[in-house]
């Protein structure tokens, strides 16, 4: 089911080294290192406020890290060296190498489902409307939403909105997908349809970092699991080890709290 074997053999797609991010006095991420291989699915778990979202937003520089190093493909950014940090349109271009999906969906409220998927292609990539529409349609079909193409976000259920958001994230053919608790705002009966789409993406070989509270999903789909606490990685390894037989006491108590629920 997982693509463990080929993922472990693959090249390193993304690497973070000693990444730090502070907001004033608050150190949200304090020295985080991580590497993701091509086609690998990395699940990130940890208690609320431990810095998972901040880490994810640092990866595509929605937040600029205070220091540390980031490497994607052959490009290296050292956040202590100002000149190596992209800005303006280079930063925008850098961000489009990632596809990001958020907890609150955050679809563009004035655009229909298909327009939400098209807008990155027409505005950022400057593709023609016809080209963008064709690709957007095939992406909507892929997430099972071809019929809702002309509906506004407010006319869609939470699960449908989140699937449109996934299609939007896929539109620019990103190298890495970032998911930030994408099922946490959904009614329980809608979680499955979104996880199914993510599961399919993983089996098709997408490289993904998934912040999640869905332990079953992490166990079944992830190749690698990180447990974070207080802005640091406390334990990491294959899901069978971290989720089933954790070594670290903090991981143990976090998971114990989870299983009790």
């Amino acid at each position: 089911m997982t693509n463990n074997s080929n993922a472990n053999a693959g090249e390193i797609k993304l690497e973070l080294k000693n990444l730090k991010k502070s907001y004033g006095d608050i150190q949200a991420v304090r020295g985080l290192s991580l590497s993701v291989k091509k086609g690998q699915v990395v699940a990130v778990i940890g208690p609320s406020g431990c810095g998972k979202s901040t880490m994810l937003r640092c990866v595509n520089i929605l937040e600029e890290p205070s220091s540390g190093m980031l490497r994607i493909g052959n490009d290296t950014i050292d956040f202590s060296v100002r000149s190596s940090v992209p800005s303006g349109s280079r930063l925008a271009k850098f961000r489009s190498r990632f596809g990001m999906v958020f907890q609150q969906f955050d679809l563009f409220a004035h655009l229909t489902a298909i327009q939400n998927v098209m807008i990155g292609m027409t505005v950022v990539q400057r593709r023609t409307d016809a080209e963008a529409e064709e690709r957007a349609m095939s992406l909507l079909e892929r997430v099972g939403l071809a019929e809702t193409r002309d509906r506004l976000p407010k006319e869609l259920s939470g699960g449908q909105q989140q699937r449109v958001a996934i299609a939007r994230a896929l539109a620019l053919e990103p190298e890495i997908l970032l998911f930030d608790e994408v099922t946490s705002a959904l009614d329980p009966e809608l979680v499955g349809e979104v996880l199914d789409v993510m599961h399919a993406l993983a089996s098709e070989g997408a490289t993904m970092i998934v912040v999640t509270h869905e332990m079953a999903f992490a166990r079944d789909v992830a190749d690698w699991v990180l447990f974070m606490e207080s802005g640091k990685v406390v334990e990491e390894g294959p899901p069978q080890e971290v989720l089933v037989a954790p070594k670290n006491d903090r991981t143990k108590s976090f998971l114990a709290r989870y299983h009790r629920q």
């Binding site: 807008i119 505005v123 950022v124 939007r168 620019l172």
Partner: protein, 220 residues
Amino acid sequence: MNYNWDFFFVIAGYENWWIKGLLVTIAYAVGTVIGGLILGVICGTLLLANRIWLTVPIHMYVELFRCTPVLVQIVWFFFALPILIQVQLPAWLAAGVGLTLYMGCFATEIFRGGIISIDKGQWQAARAIGMTYVQMMRHIILPQAIRRMIPPFVNQSVIQFKNTALLYVVAVPDLMYTGYLVVADTYRPLEVYTGVAVAYFVLLYPLTQWGKRLEARGDK
């Protein structure tokens, strides 16, 4: 009470005065609303840049003009400012500047309020797909924000239109001041000021209704 109404008496012979007064009022209303809008877009945009050396003076301007009567502002620009700068502004300019700055401070708030009412998630999503600031503003933020700005802007324009009657105090010959001149000539304040009130009402009622309709549509 058997007052003998005679509107003909205050119109005949004064047609040119009235037409001019009406045009002056409309010109000031339209001119200062447009001027205020431009000022508001500029100041509102600068506020969004979040630089303290920009935001502090703009907030001071906005609060100063919002928290003083526009009558005081017009009088100040006409009677007080010339002493400071040693140049006498013509009445039409002093009044125009006062009214434009007054409209501008509300337009600034309306513009900024409309922009920041778009939830942070959409800003983040737009940046995440690789839009530049300008692309995000043009394709995501402004289309939604402008829709929200229109009703308060129309309502403020109605208020602004009424405020043009204050041109009277610096003797700019608008509708109100024309009324004063005709009264001085005819000793018929009842007909004159009733007529002036009706003229304002006829101009403003449709605008007010339009504002209400826009607001109702925005609620949906």
